[in-house]
Symmetry: D2
Subunit: 319 residues, 4 copies
């Protein structure tokens, strides 16, 4: 059976390795090359098959039909352009082509929101991990115009350390992270804010966003705690999410509050919602959990590849 040949740029980071594993386990994709400059020549087993990294400049780019780029921010766009010049489709996991980071009009691949724009798209900007968890928790409210005008949506979220990559850094050593917890990029300083502002704004709301990320002593997973003031009371908020995401296989709405263990190693978002008691302003707290490396990166990238290649959307994705 013919499998579609796929390349991966920047395959040695956590997201890149997860991509290698997913592509190797995918019934219709075949890993043609995986690049990693510092690890060129190294062989490792990912998804049950051996992968040998090559330097990006040595990759046989045009032997693939689609390329995933998990290169670092700043380095990715140029290689995506090379691939597109060779006629490949490209899915960019860096922030280079996301809204707010480029003037180019590239579809923003939050799959459940943008699905129709992604079919046959030559290039897709894969969302950041935090935005994936946060935006999917907000879209049902945004689509109905239920966010209070002029309000600030408070986005507190916490991520496992793989979100920070696998380059050795002092602040990511076990002895610094274990039994510890801290916020970072406080005051709206995080790179993921522009794409969230863009998507929220695209629904016509004028609400502001305030995003405070935190570093958890876990390897994988993001939990977002989203506090949002409403334009009106909602009787049964959970029902709203159920209706909006009816039929979505990767979005799990539940009365039970989500935990990281519910979603790690799966291409799933799990969402729950509670009304805030005792406030004058009608307010919801939406909780949303994902695996930052799967639905927050490599899983959603493969989901987007499936959509743009016309394959079944769930093909090769762990549920």
């Amino acid at each position: 059976m013919h499998r579609i040949p796929v390349g991966i740029f920047g395959a040695s980071g956590y997201a890149g390795r997860e991509l290698c594993a997913l592509v190797n386990a995918h019934p219709q994709l075949r890993l043609e090359y995986a690049t990693a400059n510092a690890q060129r020549g190294e062989t490792t087993v990912l998804g049950g098959q051996e992968v040998t990294f090559v330097a990006t400049e040595d990759a046989p780019v045009n032997q693939a039909e689609l390329v995933f780029s998990a290169l670092p921010h700043g380095a990715s766009a140029a290689w995506v352009a090379v691939a597109r010049g060779e006629g490949l489709r490209a899915i960019d996991l860096s922030s280079d082509l996301r809204p707010g980071h480029t003037t180019e009009d590239v579809p923003y691949g939050l799959t459940e929101v943008a699905r129709e724009r992604l079919r046959d798209a030559p290039v897709i900007a894969n969302p950041g991990c935090y935005p994936t968890a946060i935006l999917l928790s907000l879209v049902p409210l945004l689509a109905r115009g239920l966010v209070k005008a002029g309000s600030t949506i408070v986005l507190d979220a916490a991520s496992g350390v793989t979100g920070a990559g696998n380059s050795p850094k002092a602040e990511l050593m076990f002895a610094e992270v274990s039994e510890n917890y801290r916020a970072y990029a406080v005051g709206n300083e995080h790179r993921h804010l522009p794409e969230m502002r863009f998507l929220v704004g695209s629904y016509g709301t004028d609400a502001d966003l305030l995003f405070t990320p935190h570093l958890l002593p876990v390897a994988r997973g993001i939990l977002a705690t989203v506090t949002v003031q409403l334009s009106q009371e909602i009787d049964n908020p959970l029902q709203l999410w159920h209706e909006h995401f009816a039929g979505e296989r990767f979005i799990e709405i539940s009365e039970k509050l989500p935990t990281l263990r519910d979603v790690v190693h799966r291409n799933a978002v799990r969402i729950s919602v509670r009304k805030a008691h005792g406030l004058r302003a009608p307010t919801l707290i939406v909780l949303s959990a994902i695996d930052n490396l799967v639905k927050g990166a490599a899983g959603q990238a493969v989901q987007n590849a499936n959509v743009c290649l016309g394959l079944p959307e769930a093909m090769g994705l762990p549920l």
Copy 2:
């Protein structure tokens, strides 16, 4: 040298054991009895000295001059009343005597705020762990009337598992907590909310509180992330905290964001603050870290005992 005899009710939990250790290491206090019904007869070393638990009903209550009660909520108030009937001072670590839980007018022992009311007080309600971290981060704004009228203060906080006590529960087992993270009591359902509302309200603000606690895979420590809208812009917010808490030995204000490792095993609150960029409403994010068992429980209780007994406030407390 004479040491003041002290009793501890409910000494076998995490806060109770920390109290035993602090009292045993305190140069002016002497542990007269430590009660624990289920562990009666057991001997353990705490603070370098052996402690043998007795049943609460068997304790020689009146041989102490002051009693700490770390009994469970609901069971504590009655034993505090017994101790007071015998002429002892009492410091209650349960919520029974805190604002919102009783009609009795008991001083609320957030030491740095209530110090003068605590001198010679016959009974003190020791604050909850979350309120200690959260309220100390807000007081400088509240005292100057800088919180925006009608706004909601968003209180997201995360605690280590010792905050949930040491009774075996399925959801606190290592295999459930490690590599996991979740919110709980979402929607303003937490027992610590009334005391926070009371203290915030006592400053004359009408702001609402929305409190969302989370469970961290760490043993000790609380980090609070407090988002607060201001009635006016503040040029140098950190300066406000420096000024308000000038001379306070247990409050550490820093430009660097606080982490749990900065404060564990110490009777300290570490606070930092950032302005939110890109919002129309002037907004601050205040970060505050404590050890839930020290400044959030046993340490603050000893600090309060020092104040009410006329001892140096920092005596016997780890810094």
Copy 3:
């Protein structure tokens, strides 16, 4: 397509839940019932399908063709007997039917060693988790008579907390286990020793075993460190394991030392070996890692079910 109906006794523990998940994901098995007395009536999702526990006494035992029992030691044998009385095949994950615990001659299901005896077997005693890791690391030496006569084989091993079950116990709480490590059952007191003595002895060696287990602050995984004196020098010891286990899909021999992360969530044993330098007695250190819930329990049980039912041995097993 016909699937073979399967029952699970004692399905609510860690091994039982792993069994439910594996059976639900198995292409030729169908979960007919799953029993759990304390959790009767509860529904949970395992292996992508909902499972509702029933009381063991209410289970439609004879509607299955094969039953796995993950009931506690002491309670399991009687229910296995009930199932056999109804004509079912049975695989017992408890120690009740293992060598040294019964006088009955039940095949001991260390698959790679006993495969031929397991085909069509009416009942199989599934090995303990520690013995699985330890025995597979020793068999190549035992089979060649290379263990020094009269020596003591030192078996130090460390396990994650799921090996101790999911009943809430004080010593398994997160706050006790994290940042901690300890030995237990020291001095040859562990329940898994008889089956190891039996299997080692069956190869005709008179070597003694000394087994010291330890509790690791991880959820899953066992690493065994086996020190064994040889009857003669071996030039290339790794080659011995390669040869002995040639063609075995679930046994991975590598020069690189095994880690828990190499094997968790997989039905694999990973083994490496080193010569001890500077000793007069020729001595090897064999390192062996498994997931205690997969190859050490539920995975090997399904592997054994595949063998005894005549299915492909690797069917439905995660690699």
Copy 4:
């Protein structure tokens, strides 16, 4: 009051920082300088006081009376020689001056064993962390000639990650260490072996040593599991350790098996012992726990400084 001025070479690693904290908290020592080439100019709070690192070549070496060197192996001996040339006493925490690494006759500072040789010693080789835990567990047997002639003592031990230093390395990142466990330096390859062989041999036994270290997912602590064959049966082995170490303040002998949590942040060794049942050769398993940074490094160094300076041995040490 006069305090003895002390310098620290290599003060920015984990052991160096622990030394700074201990010296700053010591009632009779004063930190005169602390060197760290890469961190020169950085200021940090250690032991409640600010420490500003200087380059080692810029340190006012002769303004101290004693220097601790926590420089890396290979770099330390030369700076210790410089300090001795200036007339300072020196305590070297590296392996450079330990038995087996130098031909110089430097006292090996396992305090409880070598105390008399350390008084007024101009230079002391501070033991490695593993040897401290292991040797103290063996000395009572060695001193009585109870180790079986010609036997191999099996030394399995596990350490927290701070034992590997605080330079960023891929294999010490949180995402690699958490939920993981592995052996390393297997086959008697560890740098700590020569000093253990030396000390064991100094008691006249001809027993061989086989040392297998492991890496634990904890920040601090070592547990050693020592299996030793005896020349004769011992009725009450624990009594032997009690007698041998009678009066030692930092050695805790207990029936209860030691855990890391028993000893972290304390200058203590906790030891227990069990007889092995069911073996022909009389065999003991000795368990021994320390904090690798305290009794295994900085704490024992200060203990040695106290001895060599004629101060009370326990001064300034956390118990």
